[in-house]
């Protein structure tokens, strides 16, 4: 493909609705896909936009009812591009100036439209570089634009400044994408990651849907990543050697934590009030252990009476909570605090992947643990940040917490209660942001959704999911058509804080030897060579 190919010219448009471009005769509509980038040469400035729709048109509407004899190649040649022509709809996003000031300030949001008959061209590599930032050697890039071989950058530093979301229906590559983002953050040291790894997708040898084994973060980055296992047995079975086995004391669970499990455990509204009363009754932190230790209906009734609660409610609550007994990582008192160790690792800049093992399928366990750990970690971060601000010392390393099945934490009912709702809303005040991964974004609270800085979405086809993801974005209608037409694999629409304009990318490969190499992974042999070289340098041999 030649660079800067002329595609056509502007025939109509509106800033809010986008611009219609009539294609030149030699440009086939079939060569233009939604999501492609184009530049428009206005009289005073250049515009940068994205193709959001492709239409066939004819100068004479009668042609539809009495079509010309196109079986004759001569007639077909003449008609093509004159009487019949292609039209594309372009959403202008940015203006690029060529003068010195614009070069310094970079692309600006578009505030007007190009004049009639402005020439539209395919965006060149240089334009794309100036819009998305060129990718220097060794810098992280997310993928390539559609049908182009240019690397586009997603700046991990910007990504972690606000919470971000990765969406897409099952099997569209959310996990691959999230893994890439984590790697980007890791590679460029933009933040430390804490990943609540529900399905063992991130730490060690995750399996793809096609049952292929790919490399996990630990394998790629070695000592920079620590695996915490909730289920050490399962980890060992999978030949993962966890850096730490997580045990959580009953005393660490607070009534608030139980309130979050309302939906998962099927608790009634009344039952949700019970733990607070229990906490008063058992005088503090031992309430859960004390309550679970109560056995027999009479003892329960007695307890109900003494806390002034309905007997049946307490009995039902007891029954429901007994699932906690089947979670071996919950112990009466943890020998060492998982939270402290996680914080210790994070402080040293080591990324933590919490491997749920078998409990990944147990949504109650996932919510309980993720919420509990995050709450403590967040409050520690908060303290540290506040202290740092007061003392003028260095703030703690930014922290990105990755959660899957986010709608279970951030639903409309729960967003106000969980720590994740707070983090999403507080944004980066305390240097903690979320990376939310979900296949059902319509289940996520609108307020939280609107606070997500960067959204990365693979194919979504549920109308409500699409609505919720695109809420509040300008050019929503146009982006909708782009989103609906994404390939079901390896394509994503990225928009929001970290990118200057919405972009459609073919995400880079993950899983091949070449991709690992590009991601900075070196086989043992390579590492040995390097260390030998370091030794040589050190001793000047």
């Amino acid at each position: 493909m030649t660079e800067d190919r002329k595609l056509g010219f502007v025939i109509s448009g509106a800033l809010t609705k986008g611009i219609d471009v009539r294609l030149d005769g030699d440009i086939s509509v079939e060569d233009l896909a939604v999501g492609r980038y184009v530049t428009i040469e206005g009289q005073k400035r250049r515009f940068f936009g994205m193709v959001t729709d492709v239409t066939l048109d004819a100068s004479d509407q009668r042609m539809m009812s009495a079509p010309p004899d196109v079986s004759d190649p001569f007639i077909a040649d003449v008609i093509n591009g004159t009487s019949t022509f292609g039209r594309v709809h372009v959403l202008p996003m940015l203006t690029i100036g060529d003068d010195a000031v614009s070069l310094v300030e970079g692309p600006q949001p578009v505030k007007t439209v190009p004049s009639h008959f402005s020439v539209v061209r395919e965006a060149s590599e240089k334009d794309i570089g100036s819009v998305f930032g060129s990718v220097a050697e060794g810098q992280f890039y997310i993928g390539t634009p559609l049908d182009m071989e240019i690397k586009v950058r997603l700046d991990p530093h910007k990504l972690v400044e606000r919470s971000a979301g990765v969406f897409g229906k099952t099997g569209t590559g959310k996990t691959f994408l999230a893994r890439l983002l984590l790697i980007g953050i890791l590679q460029e040291r933009a933040a430390v990651n804490l990943v609540f790894d529900m399905h063992n997708d991130y730490g060690w040898s995750p399996m793809t849907e096609g049952k292929l084994e790919v490399k996990g973060l630990k394998q790629l980055f070695g000592s920079k990543v620590a695996i915490f296992a909730l289920d050490a047995e399962s980890a060992r079975r999978r030949k993962v050697s966890p850096d730490y086995e997580v045990k959580i004391g009953y005393d660490e669970i607070e009534p608030d934590d139980i309130a979050l499990l309302k939906e998962t455990l099927g608790l009634t509204d009344l039952a949700v009030g019970v733990p607070y009363k229990l906490a008063r009754y058992f005088k503090g932190r031992k309430w859960l252990e004390g309550f679970l230790a109560v056995e027999g209906i009479e003892a329960l009734n007695e307890l109900a009476n003494s806390i002034g609660e309905n007997e049946a409610t307490v009995a039902a609550f007891h029954r429901r909570l007994s699932v906690l007994k089947r979670m071996p990582f919950l112990v009466s008192e943890a020998k060492s605090s998982a939270i402290d160790s996680i914080l210790g690792y994070l402080e040293r800049g080591i990324h933590v992947v919490l491997d749920f093992g078998r409990y990944g399928d147990n949504i109650a366990a996932y919510i309980l643990v993720a919420n509990l750990l995050t709450r403590r970690i967040h409050s520690t971060y908060r303290e540290r940040t506040e202290r740092a601000v007061a003392e003028g010392s260095a703030k703690p390393l930014p922290l990105v917490i990755t959660i899957e099945e986010a709608h279970k934490f951030l639903s409309h009912e729960l967003a106000g209660q969980t720590i994740f709702g707070t983090i999403a809303r507080e944004m980066r005040k305390y240097n903690v942001t979320l990376l939310v991964i979900d296949q059902r974004p319509s289940g996520i609270d609108e307020e939280v959704m609107s606070q997500l800085g960067t959204k990365i979405t693979c194919l979504l086809d549920n109308e409500r999911d699409v609505e919720n993801v695109l809420m509040g974005v300008s050019g929503k209608g146009e982006l909708k058509s782009v989103l609906a037409k994404l390939d079901s694999k390896q394509q994503a629409l990225i928009f929001g804080y970290a990118v200057p304009m919405p972009m459609v990318v073919k995400t880079r490969d993950y899983g091949t030897a070449q991709s690992y190499k590009e991601l900075g992974f070196r086989e043992a042999l390579g590492r040995k060579k390097d260390s030998d070289k370091d030794l040589k340098d050190l001793f000047a041999e």
């Binding site: 004819a58 009668r62 009495a66 010309p68 004759d72 003449v78 004159t82």
Partner: protein, 193 residues
């Protein structure tokens, strides 16, 4: 320079009529001819030709009952050549001044008795670099479709890649009559034939 084929006998800004020097040999329908007014070359497309008696009231009569060949009639009646004449009309489509072509009406019509020349292929190709003149032919009230098709067919012969020229011209035409696909279709079929 092109061969001299006739002389202007009636002239107006948009067209002229010329009498051919050779009876029965008018330039082809749709071919490009040139005449001159002062310094200006006037280009026109032949839009029709006719042969008739010199005197309007006297019509020719059939003479060949006994002859085997048509040519024999003329051989045995040499006066016939003098009693009849061939005329053609041409639509003015542009003019040229020292090698520069303008595809719009010349400031003045050709003078009576100006010589008319058939254009050479090179000149035709040069003139056809722009096809804006087709708009004049589009507006001709009679036989316009035929005329356009014939003009393009004639011009195409001057090109080494006639099809390329025809597609270019067709596209130009498609834009000129964008609202009338049916007509475009008819013309294109005639162009190709």
């Amino acid at each position: 320079m092109g061969s001299k084929i006739g002389e202007v006998i009636k002239s107006s800004t948009e067209s002229f009529m010329a009498e051919c020097y050779e009876l029965h040999i008018p330039p082809s329908f749709g071919s490009l001819v040139r005449t001159r007014e002062g310094n200006i070359d006037i280009y026109a497309v032949v839009s029709g030709a006719s042969t008739a008696s010199i005197e309007a009231g006297r019509r020719p009569i059939a003479r060949g009952r006994g002859d085997v060949n048509e040519e024999d009639i003329y051989l045995s009646n040499p006066q016939l050549e003098k009693l009849m004449r061939t005329e053609f009309t041409a639509m003015v489509v542009g003019h040229g001044d020292s090698g520069k072509f303008s595809q719009y009406m010349p400031p003045r019509p050709a003078r009576i008795h100006s010589f008319v020349y058939a254009c050479e292929p090179d000149e035709i190709a040069m003139f056809n670099q722009s096809l804006a003149y087709l708009s004049v032919l589009v507006d001709v009230p009679e036989r316009s479709n035929e005329l356009i098709a014939a003009t393009l067919r004639n011009a195409a012969v001057s090109y080494s890649e006639p099809r390329e020229f025809l597609v270019r011209a067709g596209k130009e035409l498609a834009l000129m009559i964008a609202g009338d696909t049916n007509r475009l279709n008819i013309i294109l079929k005639k162009v190709k034939a």
